[in-house]
Subunit: 368 residues, 2 copies
């Protein structure tokens, strides 16, 4: 029999809630001993670290008797609690909190493995990236973060396998944002469509496909963070997501509006003023028999990372993308002119949580 593995989970938003559902249905699940949302923390009582917290959902967990309830704990306090558990422990960070991500080395050095869809830790300064993996080696802990790119799609694991087995990755290209995929598949589909850019943005916002402030999608930063992670795994020392060109789709005059509800409302109201600019970009592509898409690309040899609009042939895989799907193409020496392609939903609670749960299972297999 292997010894039990102890689990701390932070974040009970969309991904966090889906993850708890998946966790509750795992055979051989680890023992959930810490569950936290922004202002509250549930803990299995020390020193026995039992009973475990039921994984079903926050409500069930928070009404379970014999658990310890506290306010928000600091990363140091959480690390101290987990590292004193009578077995190996894993922290699942289902937040997008940069502060928690900044503390990963603290956890890792104490032997606590990290599983997370939170991009912040892996796409900030390169020194932090190095610190994370050096701390993991030092603490003999593991770090899995498949869902930071393409949600549950096998993107990072595939790239890591290519690199680890000695293939030479020459180029990575794709559509990395479900939101921007939807916007361009709807605004400029193969065969054309008679739609205004602003209408498509508003539709996406109403469907819940955009962040509360659509500018958080249109600024390209989310894509830039994902490219930073991929480029680093491919061996490039990208200093930060600001160290390469990012084409923002926010009209310059609207970039300065505040991110308050009022600012967002003003942005939406004024966006139609710029429909002509986007229509011109679309038509330029169409005149050449192409379509325009918002893509990210990494040229490994020339160390060039780019995020922005590009034209594609109408019969290309990128042009044919549907809905809010992601597509990622890996060009390598072994795969030659036809890339290895991974495609599918790259956003959404259930598929993002799936990547987290699959990572958790892999970490558990390695810790046993």
């Amino acid at each position: 029999m292997s010894s039990p593995i102890y689990l701390g989970v932070i974040g009970v938003g969309g991904v966090g809630t889906s993850f708890l559902h998946q966790l509750a249905r795992l055979p051989n699940a680890p023992k959930l001993i810490l569950l936290a949302r922004s202002s509250q923390t549930l803990l299995s009582p020390t020193p026995s670290y039992s009973p475990a917290i039921p994984a079903a959902d926050w409500k069930t967990a928070s009404t379970t008797p014999s658990l310890t309830t506290k306010g928000a704990l600091s990363p140091d306090e959480i690390a101290a609690y987990l590292s004193s558990a009578p077995g190996r422990s894993i922290l699942v960070d289902n937040t997008s909190d940069p502060k928690l991500a900044a503390s990963y080395p603290v956890f890792l050095r104490q032997g606590i493995s990290i599983v997370t869809p939170n991009k912040k830790g892996f796409s900030s300064d390169f020194s932090h990236w190095k610190d994370i993996f050096e701390s993991a080696a030092q603490g003999k802990a593991l770090v899995y973060h498949e869902s930071t790119v393409g949600a549950g799609l096998p993107v990072l694991s595939t790239l890591k396998d290519l690199v680890a087995t000695g293939d030479e990755v020459t180029r990575i290209e794709g559509v990395f944002s479900g939101t921007l995929s939807f916007l361009f598949n709807t605004f400029a589909p193969v065969g054309g469509a008679d739609k205004q850019w602003s209408d498509v943005v508003i539709q996406a916002k109403e469907l819940g496909y955009t962040e509360p402030d659509p500018r958080d999608d249109l600024n390209g930063m989310d894509v830039a963070r994902k490219l930073t992670i991929l480029a680093r795994i491919a061996g490039l020392e990208v200093q930060s997501p600001d160290s390469f060109p990012i084409e923002s789709l926010i009209p310059a005059p609207l970039a300065g509006l505040p991110s308050s509800a009022d600012g967002i409302a003003q942005f939406i109201t004024r966006l139609p003023e710029f429909d002509g600019e986007m229509a011109a970009i679309k038509e330029t592509a169409e005149k050449q028999g192409k379509v325009v898409r918002y893509v990210g690309s990494i040229d490994v040899k020339s160390k060039e990372v780019r995020v922005g609009l590009q034209q594609f042939d109408q019969d290309s895989a990128i042009a044919g993308l549907k809905g809010s799907d992601n597509i990622i193409s890996f060009y390598t020496r072994r795969y030659g002119s036809n890339p290895l392609i991974v495609q599918g939903a790259g956003a959404g609670g259930d598929v993002t949580a799936m990547g987290v749960t699959a990572d958790l299972l892999k970490v558990m297999e390695r810790l046993h």
Copy 2:
């Protein structure tokens, strides 16, 4: 420091040779102590199990002094040798030998893990499949066989993650044979082509894309074996690759020709007699604006597995496939109407070996 891991490798054909090249370039490679081809076996001398065999290639290995040289060893003898090594051991089977595959339980029960692209062990009787995984559990050994389907493409790992995290896989569909992909992408591309079926088969044979006897590709058995493996991972108890319909592309009058060089020559000579039949199938599809492709599909709910010709819309991903690429689509509850798709080269020594090497690294991570 972790204890060393000992490695036995059988088979030095196309995949075996590529694998040895990749193995030789791994940092932290396991100790190669057994290397065998059909009639010869190289061994590190017992009881020290050292020196290790250089992994570069068969010629270098076989001319290395201080190794023990023997003829072909039986699976029992190989298992006895590996299980007595002073650490955990792994057998990499780079053959397509059904006899060796039949012995996997012998290795696994003795704690020897298996990594292989050999389909035979996983696509014969269902009782053998069960025996393999029960033996692995009993011997606390691991079995990784990613390259049995789609070569190095992340197909089995993706399906296993979907199943393990509790997604409901409803349908798997795709082009699973590089050879049949090339034949149909060339014979019936989107937009049409004026080619005779027999000419395309001969071209593929001359390019080395077919087995020495092209009927070994055209009979659909290779695809049926892959579907058997996928269906079993998806939870279906497929008894054998013969237990579902397989559409053979060998004209009935030519199926009985011997598999000798003379029989193959006769097959090639007489194949043009049947060009009219294949042209009719192509034209029927074209009249409906479609193209014909040779695909495999698994309907998990109705437990239906099928291998054969099917028509596809010209703008579908399957119709747009290039060269000898594979494409595999997973339809699941979480992914909804847009499947998770993996696409790329599904055959060839280097990419198949890459799947084997990646599996080897994963097994090593778990054994440490």
